[in-house]
């Protein structure tokens, strides 16, 4: 029995037939098969996802993509998205997949926070003429200073390994598999040149990328893909992935179509099989168990690299973070619910977890209360979209911010949310060789470098305006933030004063 009812098409490419020069470039560009050439004209078929590849590739700007005007009758409760999702599920009976970060409007608190600046009673600093330090250290703080015989601080005497970065930025964990070889190569190259960190994701490290290992953070997830002692010792830090903001409590599932030779070799799994990451680590059912995995990774790397733990921001995040620090983690990453993903069930992506603004502040406060905050580096991620978000996140308590989607956008991504389909027209989230080849590694790397360089300059501008000369003095500096949103209770939870409240 056929039960399908067509889910109406969402986007409509409009071809300006007068401007069109019939070069057919758009047809080659479209990896979703939404355009064809027929009767001497470019014609529109079903399947447009509004990735805008054709729009940008068209030499005469003859293409416009719009949301279909023939949309559902307006309804205040049953939005078109809700109606479409019900229609799709009634067809397939499947769990709806999507990608990128949460696509819901109720969670943006960064936009409700305003920054402070110096006036009269404290001087601002011109960062173009005076030093403003953005160097950032990742790892467990030794808690003491060793001074040599000449009275100088002996940096090598620290018992714990520390990673030094030139900016308080880490490119988050994006595995080879979720993105293409070229995309990962570009991100790693950018991290090396900027001297910041990039996460490898849970898919292991391809042999070609060991040249960047001093700027890489290895991820040990429940699937343990590609994790060997050699790999762990080569990189500069190791992250245990417990969860991801886009899908807290959920595992990973790289479909067999994407497990081609390159991925198979790097993950060390057979060709064409699904790569499944179990939902939990089955060796970790408690903080004590987590301590064991942290310890075995430290033993296995002979205490040469910091070992961190990454969790999704969930409602009890403060207590969990406290346990993680007590379990011996050298750094801690909190990933908020707007964090990105290459594939996640929509229901989890849009509805589970906590915004990073609240989570990072809650963790920072909890660790301070327990006297633990000074021991570790706190990283925060989950839709740090701009330098402004980064600055606010640091002032809410993060030492380092993790950025993924913005780096993708720098490479060409238009956030069309189709990563899970593996047909990325920009050559980023795909394993199809012809599509992956569309991304020029050098160009993409340079664009990522440019973007983060600009962010760091903006960070210095803001710090200078605040009269702060080192990013470490901005960490957790809530006095320089004011809340201006609709819900003063959020300000209380963030421990940020309301706009209009002064220092005293």
């Amino acid at each position: 029995m056929r039960t399908d009812i067509k889910v109406p098409e969402k986007y409509l490419p409009i071809i300006d037939q007068e401007a069109c020069i019939r070069c057919k470039r758009c047809i080659k560009s479209c990896s979703y098969g939404a355009l064809e050439f027929k009767d001497d004209k470019v014609r529109v078929k079903d399947g447009c996802v509004s990735c805008l590849r054709c729009v940008i590739d068209c030499p005469t700007s003859a293409i416009t993509v719009v949301e279909r005007p023939s949309s559902y009758a307006p309804h205040a409760v049953f939005s078109p998205e809700i109606r479409r999702s019900i229609m799709a599920q009634a067809n397939s009976g499947g769990v709806l997949l999507s990608s990128c970060g949460a696509n819901a409007e109720y969670m943006d608190i960064f936009n409700d926070i305003l920054l402070d600046a110096a006036q009269v009673t404290n001087p601002s600093i011109d960062p173009l003429r005076e030093p403003v330090e953005t160097k950032t250290y990742l790892g467990r703080r030794p808690g003491k200073v060793v001074v040599d015989d000449d009275g100088r601080i002996d940096l090598d005497a620290s018992e714990t390994p520390i990673v030094v970065m030139d900016m308080p930025i880490m490119i988050g964990h994006i595995s080879l598999g979720s993105i293409s070889y070229n995309a990962q190569a570009a991100l790693f190259r950018a991290a090396s040149e900027l001297n910041i960190l990039a996460g490898t994701g849970e898919g292991g490290l391809h042999n070609d990328f060991y040249c960047h290992s001093k700027n890489l953070c290895a991820e040990v997830a429940s699937g343990r893909f590609g994790v060997t002692s050699h790999y762990l010792k080569e990189v500069s830090c190791v992250d245990i992935k417990i969860g991801q903001g886009a899908k807290p409590g959920h595992g990973g599932h790289l479909p067999g179509e994407k497990v081609q030779k390159l991925i198979s070799e790097t993950r060390m799994i057979p060709l064409g099989t699904d790569a499944l990451s179990p939902y939990p680590h089955h060796d970790i059912y408690s903080i004590e168990d987590l301590q064991q995995l942290i310890s075995v990774l430290k033993e296995s790397t002979e205490y040469s690299v910091p070992v961190g733990v990454k969790i999704a921001a969930v409602h009890n995040v403060g207590a969990i973070a406290s346990g993680i620090v007590r379990a011996g983690a050298d750094f801690l990453t909190i990933d908020g619910l707007r964090g990105g993903t290459g594939s996640a069930p929509r229901v989890i992506r849009d509805h589970a977890g906590m915004p990073i603004e609240i989570a990072v502040s809650a963790v920072d406060q909890r660790l301070q209360e327990e006297g633990l905050r000074d021991k570790v580096t706190l990283c925060a991620s989950g839709s740090i979209r701009t330098a402004a978000d980064m600055i606010k996140c640091i002032a809410l308590g993060a030492d380092v911010v993790g950025v993924c989607t913005s780096a993708m956008i720098a490479m060409g991504c238009t956030v069309c949310q189709q990563c899970h389909r593996g047909a990325c027209s920009w050559g980023i989230a795909t394993q199809v060789p012809e599509l992956a080849a569309r991304l020029d590694t050098e160009v993409a790397a340079q664009r990522v470098i440019n973007m983060f360089h600009a962010w760091n300059e903006e960070l210095k501008e803001i710090m200078g305006a605040m009269g702060i000369d080192s990013v470490e003095s901005l960490v957790g500096n809530r006095d320089r933030l004011r809340y201006i949103g609709p819900n003063p209770r959020i300000a209380e939870i963030l421990d940020v004063k309301h706009s209009g409240e002064g220092w005293g």
Binding site: V7, K10, Y11, V49, E81, R84, S85, A88, Q89, N91, S92, G93, G94, V95, L96, L97, S98, S222, G223, R224, V227, T228, S229, L232, K233, H253, P255, G256, S264, E265, M268, I269, P270, G272, T273, D274, A275, L276, P278, H282, D283, Q292, S295, V296, E299, S300, T301, E302, P345, R346, Q417, Q418, H420, R421
Partner: protein, 258 residues
Amino acid sequence: MSDDNSTVVIDAGERDRLGHPLDYRELNRRIRKTLSEGQERIVLMNVMGQRYIASATGGTRMRIEIHGTPGNDLGAFLNGGTLEVFGNAQDVTANTMNGGRIVVHGNSGDITGLAARGGTLLVKGNSGYRVGIHIKEFEGVGPSLVIGGFVNDYVGEYMAGGTIFVMGLGCTSSPVGLNVGAGMHGGRILVRGGLDEHQLGPGACLAELDEKDAAVVEGLMSQYEAAFAATIDRSVPVLKVMPLDSRPFRGHYDSTTI
């Protein structure tokens, strides 16, 4: 410390000033130091639950004898050589083992062989829950986990390759628990003494041995007999649990643009 030129003995029961046995960090540091000096035969005496023993080690000629009871995570990330335990091993033995051989003259605990991708583990007695979870293989090479007695529930969960052989020696009923091979999408679980359909987890099915399986069974039995000076009755039938599909979640998801 050396009792002769070829073997180094380390007393893991040595007490510090406070009367505590040797800390695992110190024990592992001594093991690594000994190995780095080119001594590849080490005997650990009076082991008292020290964790992470010999993690990330593994010269091909390395041989570490462990007398007493090692703690959790014995031989994690092992790359080669042999660890032989004269006693029981605890949880997460052979965590993410890459290669080499671990022989346990006793029982091993839960999640033995977690995410291993190579090497051989022989356990004389029984093992706990979730043995061989997410073991995998690459280019035809995978781990072999052999348990002489019985295992508990969820053996071979998420299994993506390799071989688990549960021998059921001394068992009067099926030597495996429930949810055998839950979510498996590669590899094989061999059960001597058999199991019923109801013991299978989702994604797993029962099959008769083919010639290749029979050769693997015989090879692993011989290894077991040699390691533990045992004799295994060849007349007890062996059944195979294998995946229904290498793509168990095909069709579970819907990618419609919403």
